[in-house]
């Protein structure tokens, strides 16, 4: 079996861009990452059937020159599913933006709780004033500026 270099490189590009975007802070980029990753996966499924451009219908070519039609049928189903779920995700992202007023994925609540506990423990150790905070454990943004977060923390505590 020969490997189609163009398709392999395209797939590698789609997957790496998708995963890179998935690890971003902005929700919109995460969603774009999902979309691109979805394209990559669906394309991969099609490539699994044979080289692109060959006919699939019985009788349109000799058997050896045809590609396997089953992966194309599978890819069609998978495309519909990813399309539907992307739409749902966009609606959810809009809802999240409407509720929270920003589209950044925040730190894990628990991580922050642990960081704060450690910070408090150090403060007791040093008996320093309020201003001497340990910079490493400070969340990148002041938690007070985020609506809704404090409630969440209070609930979890």
């Amino acid at each position: 079996m020969t490997i189609n270099i163009t398709m392999a490189v395209t797939l590698a590009g789609l997957y790496s861009v998708g995963f890179y975007l998935l690890m971003q802070r902005s929700l919109m980029r995460v969603i774009l990452g999902i979309v691109i990753l979805g394209h990559g996966a669906n394309l991969f499924l099609q490539v699994a059937g044979g080289p692109p451009g060959e006919p699939t219908f019985v009788g349109s070519a000799v058997l050896e020159a045809m590609v396997d039609p089953l992966p194309q049928a599978l890819a069609l189903t998978a495309i519909v599913i990813t399309f539907a779920l992307t739409t749902f995700l966009l609606a959810l992202a809009y809802r999240s933006w409407a509720l929270l007023g920003h589209d950044e994925v925040q730190d894990d609540v628990e991580d922050r709780r642990i960081a704060r506990a450690e910070q408090a423990a150090r403060k007791v150790e040093d008996e320093g004033p309020e201003s001497e905070r340990v910079a490493g454990f400070e969340a990148p943004e002041a938690p007070e500026s985020r609506p809704g977060e404090d409630d969440e923390e209070a609930r979890i505590r």
């Binding site: 998708g18 998935l22 929700l27 995460v30 999902i34 990753l37 979805g38 990559g40 996966a41 669906n42 991969f44 499924l45 490539v47 699994a48 059937g49 396997d68 089953l70 992966p71 599978l74 189903t77 998978a78 599913i81 990813t82 539907a84 779920l85 749902f88 995700l89 959810l92 992202a93 809802r95 999240s96 509720l99 929270l100 994925v105 925040q106 894990d108 609540v109 628990e110 609506p147 809704g148 409630d151 969440e152 609930r155 979890i156 505590r157």
Partner: protein, 510 residues
């Protein structure tokens, strides 16, 4: 007879459509849900009896033969899990109807809940019954799609972030699933699970094990294996109690089922699999330690859920008949017990108005029945005799000791330690929530959202549904003998899968 196999998928889907149409009349919706789920339970019981006496029941949809057509297969394992899942979904539905009536009265309809719940049930049934890999993907998507709607329904500001995490992680794992199907198809040229083993066996060993590992990762995200578990304790506890209960009871178990099915049927493992044993050990210990560190009742239960997924993985990784029989027993036990615990947590939250173990106390004195309903599944989870957890754990420990390699012994020891840690965790819940003087319920800070807490009111339907689940878990312990025999036969089918394959691929009864 074979048409019966299609019913657990078709009935809830059709009922979901009807339920959507009947959105304005809550009584029709409720009746439809209860009737359909009862029917699925009956069908599953019939299928189980038939599969046990005559071998797998196979249905070829549209009359297309394998390996191209779609097949639905009900063997012992699939129909047993189908039966338990149907009973649990029924109990949770009754609980949720009871909660709805208590909170909003008999007249108000919840348009989206019933149809989506039925779609979820259809997805779960299809995942159990399907005979090919792509159909399994579709089943997962049906199930997860419905779960996205259920977890984000009437989402509030503090619930939107965790549910977003859930949706994105699940979507990513679905995309990896598509990738996995593409890889498997490229390597084997089929998506039919029964036709796959021959093709896989012809591949080089390296390709085989990388495919097997990729499948473990894909289903590991769904089943919440450590280190792929991080999303679960974040997202599950935020949903309303009945939703969390059904997610915790079923969704992760479907992932475990898919792992069992693919690793036993498609791949051949002669010995125990050390990598999977290691993952099992880490999952058990980290989950249990995570649970102990929590102060939130629901988060604690979620970590315990993660921890006990490790047990199922442990039995699977041994690849012996006794080990797999232990897993089947454990999955059956865990579906009922975990569902029951989350429902009890829902009851407790309604009485106390909080999920924080520090803020609540004295539930046992104020509501003794709730305390009993918690104590039985909790002790069962920790594996105290004579409850169902003990029977299942015992089977797993025996299987581990029997294999006897250093790794297997280490994981067996880890399983005992985890059992003790679980006991410590549930004791912590008991001391925090149930002992002490009763507290006044805290007032619900947002009475209009779906999570109603602190009203102090529960209806007999809610308590009854929880009691029903607890009763099932007690019955599992009472009928442990026949059930263990059945699990052993099912495990035997899994490891000696000629029966399954010839039933699917041969002319059979199609």
């Amino acid at each position: 007879m074979t048409f019966l196999v299609a019913l657990p998928v078709l009935l809830p889907l059709l009922a979901a459509a009807l339920s959507l149409v009947a959105g304005r009349s809550p009584r029709v919706q409720r009746l439809l849900g209860v009737v359909v789920l009862t029917a699925i339970a009956a069908v599953a019981a019939t299928l189980l009896l038939r599969a046990d006496s005559e071998g797998p029941v196979v249905l070829r949809l549209g009359g297309y033969g394998p390996p191209f057509g779609i097949t639905l297969v009900a063997d012992r394992l699939a129909s047993l899990l189908l039966l338990v899942s149907a009973l649990v979904t029924l109990a949770v539905l009754v609980f949720s109807i009871g909660q709805r009536i208590t909170d909003f009265g008999r007249r108000t309809a919840s348009t989206a809940f019933h149809p989506m719940y039925l779609v979820l049930c259809a997805g779960v049934s299809m995942a159990y019954l399907t005979g090919d890999l792509f159909n399994l993907f579709v089943a997962f998507e049906i199930m997860l799609g419905a779960s996205y709607v259920l977890i984000t329904r009437r989402v509030t500001a503090e619930r939107v972030r965790p549910s977003m995490t859930y949706v994105i992680v699940s979507l990513t794992s679905s995309l990896l699933f598509i990738t996995m199907i593409a890889l498997v198809y490229t390597a084997t040229g089929t998506v039919n699970l029964a036709a796959m083993p021959e093709k896989i066996a012809a591949l080089p060993a390296g390709v085989q094990s990388s495919l097997a590992l990729f499948i473990v990762i894909v289903f590991g995200i769904k089943a919440a294996l450590v280190p792929l578990h991080f999303w679960l304790p974040d997202s599950y506890p935020t949903a309303p109690a009945p939703i969390t209960a059904v997610f915790a009871a079923l969704l992760t178990k479907v992932g475990v089922y898919a792992l069992i099915r693919t690793q036993t049927l498609v791949f051949v493992h002669e010995d125990s699999w050390a990598v999977l044993l290691g993952v099992a050990l880490v999952t058990m210990i980290i989950g249990a330690l995570g649970a102990i560190a929590q102060n939130d009742l629901n988060r604690m239960l979620s970590f315990l859920l993660v921890s006990h997924i490790g047990y199922m993985l442990f039995g699977l990784a041994l690849f012996t008949v006794i080990g797999l029989a232990g897993v089947i027993l454990y999955v059956v036990h865990h579906i009922t017990v975990q569902g029951a615990l989350f429902l009890v947590s829902g009851l407790v939250t309604r009485h106390t108005g909080t999920v924080s173990l520090q803020a609540m106390s004295g539930v046992a004195r104020a509501y003794p029945l709730v305390a009993v309903l918690f104590a039985i599944p909790a002790m069962s989870l920790a594996g105290i005799p004579p409850f169902s957890g003990f029977v299942a754990k015992m089977a797993l420990l025996q299987a581990g000791a029997e294999v006897g390699t250093a790794m297997a012994i280490a994981v067996t020891a880890g399983a005992v330690v985890t059992s003790l840690l679980t006991l410590y965790a549930v004791t912590k819940i008991w001391v925090g929530a149930f002992w002490g003087p009763p507290t006044e319920p805290l007032v619900d800070d947002d009475p209009n959202d779906d999570v109603t807490v602190g009203t102090g009111s529960t209806s007999s339907a809610m308590v009854g549904a929880t009691g029903g689940l607890v009763l099932i878990s007690v019955l599992i312990a009472v009928f442990a003998g026949p059930l263990a025999d059945m699990s052993e036969r099912a495990a035997n089918d899994l490891l000696h899968d000629e029966g399954y394959r010839s039933a699917v691929l041969g002319e059979g009864n199609g």
